[in-house]
């Protein structure tokens, strides 16, 4: 038991230092520093907000559309940050891996932690928008906690696979870039699902990422969000599908990661 605790102690110490290093390096030589992690998604939001409310007008009819859009973007931003970061994470830490043995998942967790910190920081902006837009919050908002947890698991699932596969197949980074682009449009981030033909929406919402975004919007912003349960006519059990997909994939990819991790030192 003491040995067990010792093992996790080391992981935690390393994790903390890796995250700290990552932050220091990322914002070095930039005048605004940490502000950029807030400003970047916000500027992107401003662009998309104008495009989608003033020109394309897809958001018409959705109450509090700006907050609705922003929430989706922040989730998406988190997902992209974690997955893109993890693709090269193992290879990027090759120097360390070749010199000392440590639990390799720490590297992935450090990428995740950096993403989470950004998510928390940027969610301050959401709160401001909600206050300005008079969005009333109920106790239901607490359901966000398990939802964000699910979001984390989705990101981890992809991160484990991408980072381990990239060690062998360097094509992964290009492929993932393309997939990410496609995923951005098949996930209801910019547009409300009500604009999609029902039969197609039924399929799209099974995507765990879509389910998390829609449920989060439902509990936090407006009940006129199409959630998985609405689309399937109030069926509560339907949640088990996206959650099941996430968990099964997580087990698969983390096993793949663990199996491959013992050879990282030779291959990076």
């Amino acid at each position: 038991m003491g040995k067990f605790r010792q093992k996790y102690r080391y992981s935690l110490i390393l994790l903390r230092e890796l995250v700290r290093t990552d932050f220091k390096i990322r914002y070095q030589n930039s005048i605004l520093g940490y502000v950029w992690s807030l400003l970047r998604p916000l500027l992107l939001f401003v662009i998309l907000y104008f495009v989608f409310t003033k020109f394309l007008k897809v958001g018409n009819g959705v109450p509090h559309y700006p907050v609705y859009l922003l929430l989706g973007l922040l989730y998406w931003n988190f997902f992209v940050e974690v997955t893109m970061g993890s693709v090269t994470a193992i290879v990027g830490k090759g120097d360390l891996i070749r010199k000392i043995n440590f639990p390799k998942y720490v590297i992935i967790l450090s990428v995740l932690a950096s993403g989470l910190i950004n998510l928390v920081l940027t969610s301050v902006v959401i709160v401001i928008f909600m206050i300005v837009g008079h969005v009333s919050v109920s106790w239901q908002a607490l359901i966000l906690i398990p939802l964000v947890l699910e979001l984390i698991l989705i990101a981890l699932t992809a991160a484990f696979f991408l980072s381990a596969a990239f060690v062998r197949y360097r094509d992964i980074s290009y492929i993932w870039e393309v997939i990410i682009q496609a995923a951005f449009y098949i996930t209801p981030i910019l547009y409300p699902l009500s604009r999609i033909p029902h039969s197609f929406a039924k399929f799209m919402i099974l995507n765990p990422f879509a389910q998390v975004i829609q449920d989060s919007r439902y509990v936090l912003i407006t009940h006129s969000t199409e959630t998985i349960s609405n689309i399937y006519g109030g069926d509560k059990w339907i949640w088990l599908i996206p959650i099941g997909i996430t968990l099964v994939l997580l087990v698969l990819t983390s096993t793949y990661f663990r199996r491959r991790s013992s050879a990282f030192a030779e291959e990076v």
Binding site: I13, R16, N101
Partner: protein, 393 residues
């Protein structure tokens, strides 16, 4: 000494698969699938059936030439590589030093790097806080801690890394020989650290091909050659065996890559060093590109730390070289009593004009060579000593 075994290496094999056609991309997989290209795989056996035990409190050496597999073995002991077959059991907290300053990031300040490297060595922020001042003082870098590591000289980096390393809190330490690189002052610090480790009865695994360090610090030594464990035994025994192997080795293929400058009117085309038990023979092949009168031809020997050990030239020796016509050659043969200590040396070859100022060809590190003696002194010269002890009433 305790008889408890802390590291047990049990029939360890390690193979590396060298793929000749690169399969690192998905395209590679497809093309090899469709074209039915047989991918040439070569299996390199880095270790073959290595077994030995290391006891608690032992200073255990691993010796072998470059490419013999000793570094692979060290990485397996450190659990960085997994053995292909066999097992390694370790009992206790093990910290490897394959390199100093693991995790150092040049973009961060010295201070940040202390915390980073500390974390790699298993120290929490609080623990590093507590010893931070000592680390900085030991590294003598008080004024530089806020500067980025990339602005440090390599000596400063090594000092910082080393003062971290000596803090490592482990039951078993794995030390690679790279620790002992650097200037003489640093080497001394390193060896002082080894002494402390030995005094404190730490279990240490030390990989090296420096026989003097092996003799001085190790209790037992494992000798690896061509991926196979040749023998395990007392340090003196193994070190003698190892040096003997080198006595018979040809050292001709050790071309140096040092700096070279001069006007090139006359050059050293080749140097040879032959080491016998009693003599050191240095042969310089000289070629004149232009007619030249009475050039001064010199040699100099330096040890591995760069300290000039001996040297002379034709002027000092009062030998007139005479006139060398363009395109003509000379062979200069030096014969020196072999009074050098056991170790690695480099030969510098120099040719100057008669004025002893104009450099025609100055060639540093023209040749590397090794003096293998079955005893080692910590001084560059070992002329052989005769002594008598008389009792006096």
């Amino acid at each position: 000494m305790d008889n408890e075994v802390v590291i047990k290496v049990d029939k360890v094999y390690k193979d590396f698969i060298l793929v000749h056609e690169k399969k690192g991309t998905i395209k590679g997989i497809f093309t090899s699938m469709f074209r039915r290209v047989t991918i040439k795989k070569e299996i390199q056996h880095a270790l073959k059936g290595i077994s030995f035990n290391i006891k608690k409190g032992e200073f255990f050496g691993i010796v072998g030439r470059n490419g013999s597999g000793k570094s692979t073995l060290l990485k397996i002991l450190a659990n960085i590589y997994q053995p292909s077959k066999g097992k390694v059991y370790t009992n206790g907290k093990l910290v490897p030093f394959i390199e100093l300053g693991v995790g150092f990031n040049p973009e961060l300040s010295g201070k940040d790097n202390v915390y980073l490297n500390g974390a790699v060595l298993g120290f929490s922020t609080k623990e590093v806080d507590a010893m931070y001042d000592d680390i900085v003082r030991f590294a003598e870098l008080e004024r530089f801690m806020d500067q980025k590591l990339k602005n440090y000289s390599s000596g400063m980096q090594v000092r910082l890394a080393f003062s971290m390393a000596v803090r490592a809190n482990a039951d078993i330490l794995l030390l690679d020989e790279v620790l002992a690189v650097g200037d003489a002052d640093f080497q001394r610090k390193c060896f002082d650290y080894f002494k402390t480790l030995k005094k404190n009865k730490k279990t240490v695994v030390f990989v090296s091909h420096d026989m003097s360090a092996i003799r001085e610090y190790c209790d037992r030594v494992a000798f690896i050659e061509d991926s196979v464990l040749v023998s395990v035994g007392k340090a003196d025994e193994i070190a003698s065996k190892y040096t003997q192997m080198f006595m018979t080795e040809n050292i001709d293929n050790n071309e140096g890559h040092g700096e070279r400058w001069g006007n090139g009117l006359i050059i050293t085309s080749k140097v040879e060093v032959n080491v016998t038990e009693n003599y050191l023979e240095i042969i310089q092949h000289i070629k004149a590109n232009k007619e030249i009168e009475n050039p001064i031809i010199g040699i100099r020997v330096r040890d591995s730390a760069g300290v000039e050990v001996l040297g002379t030239n034709t002027k000092i020796e009062k030998v007139k070289v005479g006139l060398i016509k363009s395109g003509n050659n000379r062979v200069v043969n030096w014969r020196i009593p072999n009074i050098l200590s056991d170790g690695n040396y480099v030969l510098d070859s120099a040719i100057l004009h008669e004025d002893s100022i104009t450099v025609a060809d100055w060639w540093d590190d023209a040749k590397k060579f090794r003096i293998a003696k079955d005893r080692h002194l910590p001084y560059p010269i070992d002329p052989g000593y005769k002594l008598t002890i008389n009792s006096v009433r």
